[in-house]
């Protein structure tokens, strides 16, 4: 910070060196009994700048987490040993109920801690609005640029306000999905905002969460949380897709499908799968504007590479691009059955459609290709037989 003199810098360094021990002490305060007697001491430490309210809240949250984990682990241990000894023991349900209760009380305590650190920010409807008032040099990204950033970073347009925070000593940069669904970027110079400078990343994140950002599954980074949420949504979509397929298919197909519920496993088992190297997957995904989450299920292209050789490229269950090369000359008899079943699996599970729902220009029904090819092969064999006969 440019306003600091040499003396001030030394004081700041000394303060910084003191901080770990104070944080250590904070941990002890929340762990031991009778922590309430330390309220005055903590207030004094915050007032003198030794620690921030964010540090205090973080230590409190950690103390809650640690104690909750201890109790939960003990409960789980008891449940495990009782399940081994007497699996139908009615007290198992009671103990499981206590695990849920422990989870609930720790969440409640943490929420209480978080809301305790929130202040008047609550009056603002959105982060943008609040920061625009709090921070004079905030700026909103150009709409086109924002959309490009969203796509480049594969941030889905979900209805919750998520984003990314980058904090350095002289700038805090926030990128987030705003209320209108676009991406806004705000740059903050901590030196210009009273109090913000000393809040630290945790403190700032708390402030931001007060405006509507959310944390999921204990993810520390909001960006990480976005991806986690996306992956959870994809799992649900995958399950729904499977449920739909199961409803439409016969018992026999279902039994076959249950064995290879994951298409990748199915293709691996039939030894017909080639996985594209990761760097190619990435470039292929970018080229096709493939966004994980919203296209996986219905995308693919089918091209005839050489006479009788078909190449199918599709977004696999793992989110990568897989290639499947089908040599129709090898499709006969039972192999033909496998290929047809595989085709059915591909049609039902993946489909062969583009992200906008239209059919790819080169897209053909793989089943009919197989049938045509088989017919062509059979005809050839019959003609050869006839030639030999006559």
């Amino acid at each position: 910070m440019k306003n600091r003199e040499t003396g001030e810098e030394q004081v700041a360094q000394a303060e910084q060196a003191k901080k770990p021990s104070i944080l250590q002490r904070l941990k002890g305060i929340f762990r031991k009994e009778g922590g309430e007697t330390n309220a005055e001491e903590l207030t004094g430490a915050i007032e003198s700048g030794e620690v921030t309210i964010g540090d205090v809240a973080e230590s409190a949250e950690n103390a809650v987490d640690e104690q909750a984990t201890e109790t939960t682990e003990e409960l789980q241990g008891q449940i495990g040993s009782i399940e081994k000894e007497t699996p139908k023991d009615p007290i198992l349900e009671k103990l499981k109920g206590l695990v849920a209760e422990e989870d609930k009380i720790s969440e409640e305590a943490k929420n209480e801690i978080i809301t305790s650190t929130e202040t008047a920010e609550k009056k603002y409807a959105s982060l943008k609005e609040a920061l625009a008032e709090l921070i004079p040099n905030s700026e909103v990204m150009d709409k086109e640029l924002a959309e490009k950033w969203r796509k480049d970073n594969r941030i889905p347009l979900y209805d919750f306000k998520g984003g990314e925070i980058n904090i350095s000593s002289d700038e805090i940069s926030l990128k987030f999905v705003n209320k209108e669904g676009g991406i806004s970027q705000i740059k903050i110079n901590p030196a210009e905002v009273e109090g913000l400078r000393d809040m630290g990343e945790y403190g700032i994140e708390q402030k931001i969460r007060a405006f509507g950002f959310q944390k999921y599954n204990g993810e520390k980074s909001l960006n990480g949380a976005l991806y986690k949420l996306e992956s959870q949504k994809e799992d649900i979509r995958k399950q729904n897709r499977w449920d739909e397929f199961s409803k439409e298919s016969t018992t026999e197909e279902q039994a076959e499908g249950e064995q290879f519920k994951d298409l990748n496993a199915y293709l691996m088992a039939t030894e017909k799968k080639q996985i594209v190297p990761p760097d190619k997957v990435k470039s292929c995904a970018i080229k096709r504007n493939v966004m994980p989450g919203d296209i996986k299920e219905k995308t693919g292209s089918l091209t005839e590479e050489a006479p009788g050789i078909y190449k199918l490229q599709y977004v696999d269950n793992g989110g990568g691009i897989s290639e499947l090369v089908i040599d129709s000359s090898k499709i006969q008899g039972s192999d033909n059955m496998i290929a047809q079943k595989m085709a059915g699996e591909l049609r039902n599970t993946l489909g062969l459609k583009l992200p906008d729902g239209t059919t790819h220009p080169n897209d053909k029904n793989i089943g009919s290709i197989v049938a045509e090819e088989t017919y062509r092969q059979d005809k050839k064999v019959k003609e050869q037989d006839n030639e030999q006969l006559f």
Partner: protein, 57 residues
């Protein structure tokens, strides 16, 4: 942040932690009581079995 404001926030945080500690203790007590009951039940069952065997003899 004014001093009063800070003190209030700190108090709220401490209260939240203390309230959690009390509830956590309750849960541990419940767990202990459930396990004790089970132990008693198992012991009674064992005694009953031994009694029955003695009767058979």
């Amino acid at each position: 942040m004014t001093k009063n404001n800070t003190a209030q926030k700190v108090k709220k945080i401490i209260n939240a932690v203390n309230s959690f500690k009390t509830k956590n203790k309750d849960i541990r007590k419940k767990m202990k009581s459930i396990l004790d009951q089970r132990q008693k039940r198992l012991t009674t069952e064992k005694i009953e079995k031994v009694k029955n065997k003695i009767k058979e003899l």
